[in-house]
Amino acid sequence: MPHYSSPSVQDELYIAGSSWLKLEDDSGLQLDEAVFEACSAALRNAGIKRHQVALSITSSLDLYDARSISNALTAPAAAGYLNDELRVEGDGAAAFLVAAAGLASGQADIAIVVASSAPEVGYTSEAAVRGLQEHVSSYTFDAHTSRPVGLTANTVLGLHAANRLDVGRVSWAKMVESTAADINRGAASGRAQRAATTIDAVASAPVAMAPLNELMLPASSAGIGAIVIAAGVAGRRCPDPLARVTGWGSAVSPSPGRTSWLTNPAGAAGKAARDAYRRSGRRAEEIGYAEMTDLTPAMTDELAEALQIRHLAASERNRTGGVRSNHPGIANGLLRIIEGAELARERTAGHNALVHAADNLMGLTSSTSSVLILESL
């Protein structure tokens, strides 16, 4: 296993600017135009011009974008013209770490990461977006063993929730209550995909993947996020950076063929968190806020345990409702980082926040968990 040294001065990475573009039905933008909107807003937010950016990393999926090599269309719009560019076919937080590595390796001083969840199905409603996500998820599972038997990301979430109810590790009433609370916390924020609700409405929502009902599943949405990351002095000279990245870790959960995805689905998140704590030199008790990707309310407690954030009050977790308020597909990881970084900008210097992201390409299986620790400046 890798042995880490303590962070060196050269590894000082700043989230210099960010932006989130929520896509609505009538946005009227072509994919590259939307990417340009998000990236130029992030650069303005960072106080940085395109010519200062030397690395452009994209998180997107051709099958959402309806185009082969869709990053060919979007790279020039993401400050990638005549630049180093790369597309990670995965969650935005994984793309963020690839960009961070690019800076830490000395390849560039300033990088932009863009994550795009702009499904080309004509509509941005939760049902329309979820329909495509599940369709593509089916194609992500193995063509010979898993796809023919109906596996999708959300069926895996249903399998897990059923097991946790059966063994008594979660209760239905608690799942209903926390779903309503998540949705209502988010409804007050500007990025919500779901309107405010009631416990009764959650309890009686249509069942999707038994035992999970529609509102317990992630709130599928369309959106594009962009973050500008800067290394060392390039970050410190930015007018108002949001946060410093002091630690990170990532790990991938077991594949569908192993039993451990069900027995210990938060194992990868736990490993990623341990690595992030070790790199940052922070202890779990020093974390004051967490933004996490608990894909269903049946995952919440075991994920919080793995991330070592059980000490946090409900108000200090997912203040905008997390994925039950807004889950923009593979752009989710970047949205979680943006939410965490915006909080970090509000808090006083030295405050520590933890961000956890996990993709839902194959539910809890083969899912990349990324953990960041952000320090307020």
Partner: protein
């Protein structure tokens, strides 16, 4: 631990046509991984990150890295980074591995370049979906037609003949006669080679469709010193570039202008001043023969329009001062993402003095390239240097 990145192991499966390939993609990738790990002198459990390339739409699964990775037998929680940039996916694998190692984010990275072309029933139709959907696809532009634009303009600008274009194919197939992993060699029939596909490209200037996988192990140098039985090949330059999207953004089709940008950038990083003098071996991604000339010129090996002269004087053949595509390149085996990473694998083995093809004696520094996207929008370059005595 931040460290230089070295290529410590290379694994090739044999190349054949997709029709004759008895193994599944998962099996081929595992075989390539096993060969690379053995070559590097490390175990599966030593790997902390695996980077896997794909081209969506050519695969039976979306994000195929996620279905391939479980077959590699790596430890639970091993990081998987799926990279998908079309024709440069393969070149990005090693470059990204180097970035992770240099950053201290990883210590031993396994790069998997799968065979990409085994699945599609009508491959050319799938490749054609890569051209810009709304603007250029309706105009009958597929991959090979995009490949034809550049040489046509090049011929007119510099007075290059059809025979001079064909000479690249013939040279590379002669090289491939010595490459056990090549799929097409100089036995290619001449009447077949002369068939016109899209002016000025004839069949003998166009890559085949192959099957086979390649894996690399990229390791932190201080670890490789201890564990690798091979001479150390350090990645000293790793870069990529994007041009604009539509073909019309290329401006001057007689040059690979965007590669000139990339060359200046990657040479600066690797400390290369005079490319022809400082580089000993080139493996360039040349799916269409004439591209070799345009790439050599854009990589500043010689002046504009001078590359055909280099071939004629033997400089780019085995024994010349700047041997190019000693493997035969993609004209002799093009298994998709594996074909894109093959240039890096071949240069690494040349610098180790272990080439399975004709060895460039004493080669110390080399350049590998990959390209893809519509009208070759994307390119990668990797400079490698032997750092062992």
């Amino acid at each position: 631990m931040k460290d230089h990145a070295v290529i410590s192991g290379v694994g090739f499966t044999s190349a054949t046509s997709p029709r004759r390939q008895p193994l599944s993609k998962d099996e081929l990738c595992r075989q390539a991984a096993d060969l690379a790990l053995e070559h590097a002198g490390v175990k599966r459990s030593d790997i902390d990150t695996v980077i896997i390339g794909d081209i969506a739409g050519f695969e039976a699964s979306s994000v195929s890295a996620l279905t391939i990775a479980p077959f590699l037998g790596l430890p639970e929680y091993t990081n998987i980074i799926p990279i998908s940039t079309g024709g440069t996916s393969g070149g990005h694998l090693a470059n990204q591995a180097a970035a992770l190692v240099r950053a201290g984010y990883a210590e031993r990275v396994l790069c998997i370049a799968p065979n990409t072309f085994d699945g599609p029933v009508d491959l050319q139709a799938v490749i054609n979906t890569n051209s810009p959907m709304i603007m250029e696809q309706p105009l009958g532009m597929g991959a090979v037609h995009m490949g034809a634009f550049f040489p046509g303009a090049y011929q007119q600008r510099y007075g290059v003949t059809d025979d001079q274009l064909m000479a690249v194919g013939a040279k590379n197939r002669r090289h491939a006669d010595h490459n056990p992993f090549a799929h097409i060699t100089s036995s290619l029939a001449d009447e077949h080679a002369q068939r016109m596909v899209s002016t000025p490209l004839r069949l003998g200037m166009v890559c085949p469709v192959s099957s086979g996988a390649i894996a690399l192990v990229v390791t932190a140098e201080s670890l490789a010193v201890e564990e690798s039985p091979n001479p150390l090949v350090r990645i000293t330059g790793a870069s990529s570039i994007s041009d604009g999207y539509l073909g019309g953004k290329r401006r001057d089709f007689s040059k690979f202008e965007v590669v000139e940008h990339l060359a200046r950038k990657v040479y600066r990083e690797a400390g290369i001043i005079d490319a022809r003098r400082d580089l000993d071996v080139l493996e360039l991604f040349v799916p269409y023969a004439p591209m070799e000339y345009l790439l050599q010129e854009a990589f500043l090996i010689c002046g504009w329009g001078e590359a055909p002269g280099l071939l004629e004087e033997g400089a780019t053949s085995h024994g010349g001062d700047i041997p190019t595509n000693l493997s035969g390149g993609p004209l002799c085996a093009n298994p998709g993402v594996a074909g894109q990473m093959a240039p890096i694998a071949h240069v690494a083995l040349q610098l180790m003095g272990q080439s399975p093809t004709q060895q460039a004696e004493g080669a110390k520094r080399g350049l590998a390239h990959s390209t893809g996207g519509t009208f070759f929008q994307f390119h990668t370059a990797t400079i490698m240097e032997r750092v062992s005595a």
